[in-house]
């Protein structure tokens, strides 16, 4: 399940990611802003995409804590 979620997160993040190589080799520690070079404004789009894809609601506080791929997986897994 965790791997599935991780792969789905990778897929969702892909259109916003400027560093495709980093995404290809992403781990739980890979950060959205520094490693994947995603524009900070686009993090909002990504969280909305998570909500749509996994049919969950992410609060502002939870969204603020999503900094890495692992953070995203943790939040999603806690809600599905």
């Amino acid at each position: 399940m965790s791997n599935d979620v991780f792969e789905q997160v990778k897929e969702i993040v892909s259109p916003y990611c400027k560093n495709k190589a980093a995404l290809e080799n992403a781990t739980a520690e890979t950060s959205f802003l520094e490693d994947l070079q995603i524009n900070s404004a686009r993090l909002v789009d990504i969280v909305i995409d998570f909500e749509d894809e996994f049919d969950i609601e992410v609060s502002d506080e939870e969204a603020d804590k999503i900094r890495t791929m692992g953070d995203a997986v943790t939040v999603i897994k806690a809600k599905t």
Binding site: A41, V44, D45, V47, I48, D60, A63
Partner: protein, 252 residues
Amino acid sequence: MKLPHRQVWPLALQKVIAFLCMPLLYFLVVLWMKYIKNYRIRDLQSIRQQFKQIRRQNPSGLLICPNHLTYIDSLLLAWAFSSMGSYLLHFRTFCWNLPNARNVQESLLYRVICYLGKCILIDEDPEKAKQTMNKAAYLLHHGHYVMIFPEGRRSQSGRVDNENYIYGVGKLHMDSHLNQVLCVYLRGDKQQTASKMPDNGERFNIKMKLQTIDSEHQGRRAMRAAAGQIINNLENMEKAHFEQFPLSKQTP
């Protein structure tokens, strides 16, 4: 929107000091722009008249959202919107600005000018940035005018950036609980791309449009929708600008 008391009184103090220094600051800035840089704003009186009408129609606060091409856009707009006398009578319309702290941190002079020019700096740190946005929402809620560049930075393409814009403007709009924002399109005849400073002798055109923000969404979706509507409006204003002033036919 409520703010802790420890954040309210510094804003009140800054407002008083800015009010006292405004005549000198306004005089020096306009002197520099008009007589040293030889800038001119087309239809200045008509723009001020329009701004006056907007002020009369909006006794509440107003979020002002201009496009962003140079470091001095907010100074040009402050000059364009009102005379010194009008600002003294209606100081709430002298906009609060939200510049990036990184741009002014290195110079004490810049920081002083920013303080006197009613700027509250947006820090890189997300928590501090959030506090600044809360302050801005508080000011809007209390009848002040706040200017924020929805693109977040000077447009690298020279056109309204519809890809990398910030959603913070949408959040600010939502937190202010105001229905309308004032979209402003500012462009000099010779401005092709973003630059630090417009060329000497530049002639500027300004268009303003009050826009009602509609959203069926809530939360971050509403924030995104509001920011998108503002950017779309700026894009339409840009299109109208270039229809009126095609690049090859601009007058000297």
